[in-house]
Amino acid sequence: MPFSFNGLQYVVGAPENVEGMKALKPLRPFDDAVIAFLNDLSGELRKVREYPDVATFGFWCRKAALLQEKAKYDDIAERFGKGVVFHSTPSNVPVNFAFSFAAGLLAGNANVVRLPGKPFEQVDIISAAVRKLLDGQHANLAPYIAFVKFPPSKEITDAFSAICSVRVIWGGDRTVAELRQSPIPARTTEITFADRHSIAVIDADAYLAAERKDTIIQNFWNDTYYTDQNACTSPRIIFWTGEKKAEAKEDFWSRVHELVKQKYTLAPVQSVGKLTALYSVAAVRKVSLVKSEDMLVTRLIPETADAGLMDYKYNSGFFFEKDIDRLAEIAGVCDLRCQTLTYYGVPETDFRTFLEETRPAGIDRIVPMGKSMDFALVWDGYDLIRQMSRRIGGLS
């Protein structure tokens, strides 16, 4: 049996599924059967109270939301899924695999999803719900779905890579490089999620004028400390615009500090790691540390904010911070690696002007503060539906 190996475990589906995938008829993007399946999955998962990330995924894949997404595409009649998508998902984020899988299915494909290696209950919950639906009223989609787990193995990666039309690799530069050791067919395309960094822009005056500052702080927490400030979407540098910057920063950071003190656990190794990161950048660049009573919030003011600064990014509450007069001054850090810009109090039109005038190599998403982790079908600069489907040309 070509798709069974030592150490390869099928959590959903079986080797026969994968065997048969190449012969399946592709689906259309946003196929009714897929939307119905995801909507039922949504129904199962939105009941999950213990895991907000599972519930968030459940909320995202409900029918009404998917139909809204569908409405953004005007070429569905000429599109089909590319065939088989092989997803390699990150080992330390529990629910990311579900979004990747849903996008692959919505684009019209059969999906082999490599689940995170580490045991997460969220993965078990979602997998069980998928199994239940495929065993029941959505059996028609069962041939299109396999969830697998395996330890790092070139042999297994080779096998799945050899049959896929699209390979989706999450997990950063090293994982991408590792998976690229396994060849893919000539027509197969890849979607790679490389190491990225993200930034934030806050307008000081808008912040000071805001009535519900604690909501802003909570949103900032969600973008940063909630994932140890280590997601690709977590801002590593905060730019301040506006007039009363000093006053705004004072208020903002003291509230952040208060919240972090209540909610965050900084392990000793993280403290040492932050101190190391701070001295590492200090050794080679002109930066100054903002004094703090503890290690919870580390703020460094660089003399210049250029792309090289981001080589020294760190996590667990480690922020560069820069005052600017014009948005154009953020361009230095917006190299290819720059992914998400989160903002507060800056009008969207300012970003449009900035993008038009500066045309940075990076910045793939511009979203309000607190929304950095919200998954969308346009992610990391890729339109996932279009990247995982093919369009037939020539028909009028």
């Binding site: 984020v93 690709c232 403290s271 040492v272 001295y279 667990s316």
Partner: protein, 362 residues
């Protein structure tokens, strides 16, 4: 005090007040020296807004995480003056610390080590059994921690023998003959804790069952490198001591704590089972949340200061180890200074995020 003044005193003689004055003077001076001669270090101090002239205690001096020496070259002397580069042990693929020594620093490391160790072994050299294989020191160009430890302690040995061959097998005949020649004399044994247990003790215990015995009741064993591997075999310090005595009569056993980044200033375990800071150095326990100084008995991250390093800015370092101070100036063994215990490495934290990397790469 100059470094020579430290050398001219008994190594465990300073009480808290005296040591506070002596260390503050010497370490503040080293801070200035490195600031003037190591541009990276100067920039680090500038970043944190450190003012060397405002120092009232060595406790206020900045401490560099040891990892920095793995990631960059930190030197306070020109390249030409480096006579030796020490590297930490690391498993393949891991970054290693690079410590640059000039003539003075290298010589002072050795003199310090002699002062400290002699306080436990008595002065004068002894026949020495190195519980390791000769291969570990062959490559003299690059010192590994194990090799450096052996070479460092070799100065206490008059005649030396390696107890293990390069396959880590006990050289039964060689050791027997060596003990025969030096019968009645005090013998120094040195090795890494796990090597001693795995390749020496276990073999002695096995041979004893076969009726082949060794008498090491005249021996003094110095061992270091940590208990991690022994703890996984459920061997405690007391058990280690008891079994050693049972196997070969060895009673005089001293653990030590030290690191390649501050070679020379080793912390020896006294007769009461406590690790001791000598006049030459000190340990300060830091609270992880804000790096303030912890109280006696409180567990925290270990900072070490050393009066030796002049060629690299390593006189005040934050280790990756956890421990606590047991007391100061009042150990029943009579030695002044702090005495402490090590709990082991800081625990790794698995942090979140979407890149498949883990919090700590050490």
């Amino acid at each position: 005090m100059t470094f020579d003044d430290f050398l001219n005193m008994p190594p465990f003689s300073m009480d808290k007040a005296e040591k506070e004055r002596a260390l503050t003077g010497r370490l503040a001076e080293l801070t200035k020296l490195h600031r003037a001669n190591c541009p990276e270090y100067a920039r680090m101090l500038e970043t944190v807004g450190f003012d060397p002239d405002g120092v009232t205690s060595y406790r206020d001096l900045p401490f560099l995480p040891v990892r920095l020496f793995k990631d960059m070259e930190l030197r306070s002397v020109p390249k030409e003056d480096v006579v030796k580069t020490m590297t930490s042990s690391g498993t393949t693929g891991q970054a290693v610390s690079k410590i640059y020594l000039d003539r003075t620093t290298s010589a002072n490391q050795q003199k310090t080590m002699v002062k400290i160790v002699s306080d436990f072994t008595g002065s004068g050299r002894m026949p020495m059994i190195i519980i390791d294989c000769p291969g570990v020191v062959k490559d003299r160009a690059m010192f590994s921690a194990r090799g450096a430890g052996i070479l460092g302690f070799s100065i206490f040995g008059a005649k030396k023998i390696y107890a293990l061959d390069d396959d880590m097998k006990l050289d039964v005949e060689g050791v027997k003959a060596f003990l025969e020649v030096y019968r009645g004399q005090k013998i120094l044994l040195f090795g890494f804790t796990f090597m001693v247990w795995q390749h020496f003790y276990k073999e002695l215990a096995r041979l004893k069952e076969e009726g082949i015995t060794f008498d090491l009741s005249n021996g003094i064993l110095i061992h270091g490198g940590g208990w991690k591997k022994l703890i996984s075999e459920a061997v405690s310090r007391d058990e280690f001591h008891r079994r050693m005595e049972e196997a070969c009569g060895l009673k005089d056993i001293h653990d030590y704590y030290g690191m390649v980044e501050q070679t020379g200033c080793i912390y020896m375990e006294c007769e009461c089972g406590h690790l001791h800071a000598s006049n030459f150095s000190d340990v300060i326990i830091r609270r992880p949340a804000n790096f303030s100084e912890a109280d006696i008995g409180e567990t925290g991250i270990i900072q070490v200061v050393s009066t030796i390093p002049e060629s690299y800015p390593g006189h005040s370092l934050l280790t990756e180890d956890e421990g606590s101070i047991l007391g100061e100036d009042d150990c029943p063994c009579g030695r002044k200074g702090k005495y402490f215990k090590i709990n082991g490495r800081l625990k790794n934290a698995e942090i979140r995020g979407c890149s498949d990397t883990y919090a700590v790469q050490f």
